[in-house]
C-alpha cells in the first residue's frame, strides 16, 4: 500500500509538470509543424525532460538515468501519452539500442552516447527487419563479411521498416556472417554509424501518406570489429536480449487510435433523418463492446503495474493488449466512416491521433507493427498456453538450403 501511494504521488507531480508544458510542447504546439520543426520540438522536449529528471527514469544513475523503477516510468509515460508530446522519434532509441550498448560497452564514449540520446541530441535506430520477412527475425540475409587480415567487417544488404532512420545517428543491427550454418547460428550483432559511407536511407511512404519508416541499404559498409556486440555467431542471442529489455511499456487500450469517448460524443451529437445515432442498437453494441474490451485492458495494465510495484512479475496476459486493441481500433474506425454517411470519405492527411480516417487507413500497419495478429496468437498459444510450435521446415537446415 505504501508503494502504491508513493507512485501515486510521483504520478501527480509528473502530471502537474506535464500540464505546465502541454501548451508549448504538446499536441496544440505541434499543429501545422513541418516534420523538421516537429523533430526540433521533440529534441527540445527531451532536453527539458532531462533537465527536469524525467529522462531514463528506470535507468541506473551511472548511465545518466534516475535510478527509479519500471513503475515510475510507466506512470510517467501514461501521463505523458495524454498530451501528445513529440516523443515518437526517441521511443525506440531509448527503449532498446542505447540500453543494449550500455550493457555491452563501457567507458566515456558510451556514456556520452547515452546522455546525448536521453537529451534527444542523438537518435538510435534498430535495424532488425528485412524484406525477407518481418515475422521471421532469424531469416535475415544482410551479409557481414569479415576481413581475415584486419578482423573488420563489410556489410552488404538491406534492412526494412526502420523507424525514423532518416533522423538517426547510430543503429544496432544483426547480420548473417555465415549462411552455411543453421539459421539461428549464423548471425552476428553490431552497432553502426548511420553516416558511414555506403549507407543509404530511403523513406517508405505508407498508405496514410506518412514516411517515418525506412529502407536502409548497406553497400560495402565498413564496420570495425570493435563495433561487434557479443561473439561472432551470437547475434540471435543478443537480438533476443535486446527485444526483452523494454518489457514494460505503457500501452493504449484504444490501440493508438482515437479515444472511445470521441466516438460516443460523435454518435451522441448525430442523427439519421431525425433518429439519434446513439439510439441504434448497432451503434450501442460497438460502443459497449469496445468499452468492455478497453476496460479489460486497462484492468490488466493496472493489475500488472500493481504487481510490479510489489516486486512481483506481472502475468503474461499483457500480451493480449496489442492483439485485441489494434484489431478493435480498425473495426471501430471503419464503423465511424459508415456512420458519417457519404461525407465519411472526406479527409485531409494528418498525423493527428484523434483522426478516425487516419486511424482506419493506418490500421493495417498498426496490426503488423510489434507483431502481426498471427504471430501474437502463436506467441500466446506457445508461450502462455504451452501448445506445440508450428511445423518448422527451416529447423535443422543450413540457412542457404532453406526454401525461400
Amino acid at each position: 500500500m505504501r508503494a502504491e501511494t508513493a507512485i501515486q504521488q510521483y504520478r501527480e507531480t509528473a502530471r502537474r509538470w506535464l500540464e505546465a508544458h502541454a501548451a508549448t510542447h504538446g499536441a496544440p504546439a505541434r499543429r501545422g509543424l513541418t516534420p523538421e520543426q516537429d523533430l526540433a520540438l521533440g529534441r527540445a522536449w527531451m532536453a527539458l525532460k532531462y533537465d527536469a529528471g524525467y529522462s531514463g527514469i528506470n535507468w541506473p544513475r551511472e548511465h545518466g538515468g534516475q535510478g527509479l523503477g519500471a513503475l515510475e516510468k510507466l506512470a510517467f509515460e501514461e501521463e505523458e501519452m495524454k498530451f501528445g508530446f513529440p516523443t515518437d522519434y526517441f521511443a525506440v532509441s531509448l527503449g532498446m539500442p542505447v540500453p543494449i550498448i550500455l550493457r555491452y560497452l563501457t567507458g566515456d564514449w558510451v556514456l556520452e552516447r547515452a546522455r546525448a540520446a536521453l537529451r534527444g541530441e542523438e537518435i538510435w535506430c534498430q535495424l532488425f527487419s528485412e524484406p525477407s520477412g518481418g515475422s521471421d527475425l532469424a531469416g535475415l540475409r544482410l551479409r557481414a563479411t569479415q576481413d581475415q587480415a584486419t578482423g573488420d567487417w563489410r556489410l552488404d544488404g538491406q534492412k526494412l521498416w526502420t523507424s525514423y532512420a532518416q533522423y538517426c545517428d547510430y543503429g544496432i543491427l544483426v547480420a548473417r556472417h555465415d549462411p552455411t550454418l543453421l539459421k539461428h547460428q549464423g548471425l552476428t550483432y553490431f552497432w553502426v554509424d548511420m553516416r558511414a559511407p555506403g549507407t543509404t536511407v530511403r523513406p517508405i511512404k505508407l498508405a496514410d501518406g506518412s514516411d517515418h519508416v525506412n529502407e536502409v541499404f548497406f553497400d560495402n559498409v565498413l564496420v570495425p570489429d570493435s563495433q561487434r556486440l557479443g561473439p561472432v555467431g551470437g547475434g540471435f542471442k543478443v537480438a533476443l536480449e535486446t527485444l526483452v529489455i523494454e518489457r514494460h511499456h505503457a500501452s493504449d487500450p484504444a490501440g493508438f487510435g482515437p479515444a472511445l469517448n470521441l466516438f460516443v460524443r460523435e454518435a451522441a451529437a448525430a442523427d439519421v433523418d431525425g433518429v439519434p445515432l446513439l439510439e441504434d442498437g448497432r451503434v450501442r453494441e460497438r460502443i459497449a463492446r469496445n468499452y468492455a474490451l478497453q476496460n479489460g485492458l486497462r484492468a490488466i495494465q493496472a493489475r500488472n503495474q500493481l504487481m510490479l510495484g510489489l516486486g512481483m512479475e506481472p502475468g503474461p496476459e499483457g500480451a493480449v493488449n496489442k492483439l485485441v486493441s489494434a484489431r478493435a481500433r480498425q473495426r471501430l474506425s471503419e464503423f465511424v466512416l459508415d456512420l458519417r454517411g457519404a461525407a465519411g470519405v472526406t479527409w485531409e492527411p494528418s498525423g493527428r491521433l484523434d483522426d478516425w480516417v487516419r486511424s482506419w487507413i493506418s490500421a493495417p500497419t498498426g496490426r503488423q507493427a510489434g507483431g502481426s495478429d498471427e504471430m501474437l496468437l502463436n506467441t500466446i498459444a506457445e508461450r502462455i498456453l504451452g501448445l506445440p510450435q508450428d511445423h518448422r521446415p527451416d529447423k535443422g537446415v543450413p540457412f542457404n538450403q532453406i526454401p525461400k
Binding site: N261, V264, R265, A268, L278, G281, R284, E285, I287, A288, R289, Y291, A292, L293, N295, G296, L297, R298, A299, I300, A302, R303, L306, M307, L310, M312, E317, V320, L323, V324, E374, L377, N378, I380, A381, E382, I384, L385, G386, L387, P388, Q389, D390, H391
Partner: protein
C-alpha cells in the same frame, strides 16, 4: 478488496477449489438436467457448511463482513464446477438489498438467516423480456404482492425474494416472504433444470418496502449481482477452456496433436484472450464497487463474461469434434450454463444499453 488478491483472498480461492473439486460430479449434474425442480442439495450443503452465504453479510448480522471481491472468488470457483444450485449469488443480491435498503428490523430478521443459509434468497425483478420493467405487472399494495413473475431463477425453492413491483408511486423494490401459501410456484422445464426457473404467482404474498425508487435500487442490486455472476461465468469459461486445451494436447489427428494445428492454436489463444479480459473486468469491477463509475465497470464485466463463457463453451465443443456434442462429454453442461447465465439477469443487449447510457451521461 484489491485488484490483486491478497493472501487471505488467495486462500479463499484455493480452499474453494479444493473443496469443490472433490464435490463435483458430472453424472449427478446430468441427472439434474433430466428432471424439473431438483437442485444439487449436496452442493448447497457444502456452500452452507463453508459459510459462503455469509461472505458479504456484515459481521454484526452473523456474516463474514467481506465484500464483492470475495463473493466473486467463491462464485468463480463454483462456476468452474457448474454449480448445482443458484442461491449463492442470488442470496448475495438479496443480502445486499436488505443491507443497503432494508430497515433495522429487516436486517435483524433476515440477514443472519441468509448468512446461515437457512433462508435462500432469490431475485425477481424481470418481467417478460425486460430485466428492469418500467411498469411491472406485479403490484405491491398494503404489504401484499399480487401478480406473476415469469421464469424466476431459483424460483422453485427460494424462501425470500427481492421483487420489483408497481406501486401508486411507481415501481418499488420490495422484499417478499415466500414461505406462505400465498405464493404459488410453477416450475418450468428448461435446458438447465437445476436453476429451478419457475413462474411465481403472488396472491397476497407478504412483502415490505425496501426502496421507493425501485428501478434505481434494482439497478444497483443488479449491478452487484452481475459482477458476482461475471465471476461465476469466468470460472465456467476457465474450466471449459481448460478441458479444450487438455484435449487438444492429448488427441492426435494426422499424426500430430490437435494443438499443433494453427487453427486450433489460434482458437485457444483467442479464448484465452477473451477469458483474461473477462476476468480482469470482473476483478476490476469488484475492486471498484464503491467507485462512482461502478455501474459501467459492472456492465463491462457482465458483457465480457457473457462473451467469454459463450465463446469458450462453443469453441471447446468445436475442438472436441463430434465427441463434444455427446451427452457423455459433459461439455454441454457448460454450453447450457453459459446460456443460462447469459439470459438470467439480462442479456447483453440490455447491458450494452445500460453501459451506453452511463457513458452518454458522462459526455
Amino acid at each position: 478488496m484489491a485488484l490483486i488478491y491478497d493472501e487471505s483472498q488467495r486462500q479463499i480461492a484455493e480452499e474453494c477449489d479444493r473443496i469443490l473439486k472433490n464435490a463435483f460430479s458430472a453424472p449427478a449434474l446430468k441427472q439434474l438436467l433430466e428432471q424439473s425442480g431438483a437442485y444439487d442439495t449436496g452442493f448447497w450443503d457444502i456452500c452452507v457448511s463453508q459459510g459462503w452465504p455469509a461472505i458479504a453479510v456484515p459481521e454484526a448480522a452473523g456474516g463474514l463482513g467481506l465484500g464483492l471481491s470475495e463473493q466473486g472468488i467463491v462464485a468463480q470457483a463454483c462456476g468452474k464446477v457448474v454449480c448445482g444450485a443458484p442461491f449463492l449469488n442470488t442470496g448475495y443480491a438479496v443480502s445486499e438489498a436488505i443491507g443497503r435498503f432494508g430497515d433495522a428490523a429487516a436486517r435483524e430478521k433476515w440477514l443472519p438467516a441468509l448468512a446461515a443459509g437457512e433462508v435462500k434468497g432469490i431475485v425477481a425483478l424481470a418481467e417478460g423480456r425486460a430485466p428492469l420493467p418500467k411498469a411491472p405487472a406485479v403490484r405491491f399494495e398494503d404489504g401484499r404482492l399480487t401478480g406473476t413473475k415469469t421464469a424466476v431463477p431459483g424460483g422453485g425453492a427460494g424462501d425470500l425474494a427481492i421483487v420489483l413491483a408497481a406501486t401508486c408511486d411507481g415501481p418499488a423494490l420490495v422484499l417478499a416472504d415466500l414461505s406462505g401459501a400465498e405464493t404459488r410456484r410453477h416450475l418450468l422445464p428448461t435446458f438447465d433444470n437445476s436453476r429451478l426457473a419457475a413462474d411465481m404467482a403472488f396472491a397476497g404474498t407478504p412483502a415490505q418496502l425496501l426502496a421507493a425508487d425501485g428501478i434505481q435500487a434494482a439497478r444497483t442490486i443488479l449491478c452487484l449481482l452481475a459482477v458476482a455472476t461475471a465471476h461465476e461465468q469466468v470460472g465456467g469459461a476457465e474450466a471449459v477452456f481448460a478441458s479444450a486445451r487438455a484435449y487438444a494436447l492429448e488427441r492426435y489427428a494426422f499424426g500430430q496433436p490437435l494443438a499443433a494445428f494453427q487453427s486450433i492454436k489460434h482458437r485457444l489463444a483467442e479464448n484465452y484472450t477473451l477469458i483474461e479480459l473477462a476476468r480482469s473486468n470482473a476483478q476490476y469491477a469488484a475492486h471498484n464497487v464503491d467507485d462512482p463509475h461502478f455501474a459501467r465497470y459492472a456492465a463491462a464485466a457482465r458483457i465480457a463474461a457473457t462473451e467469454a463463457y459463450d465463446t469458450a463453451s462453443r469453441d471447446a465443443m468445436q475442438v472436441f469434434g463430434g465427441l463434444g456434442g455427446t451427452w457423455e462429454a459433459d461439455l454441454h453442461l457448460h454450453q447450457r450454463r453459459a446460456r443460462t447465465l447469459a439470459v438470467e439477469i439480462g442479456n447483453n443487449l440490455f447491458w450494452e444499453d445500460e453501459l451506453v447510457e452511463e457513458l452518454r451521461r458522462a459526455c
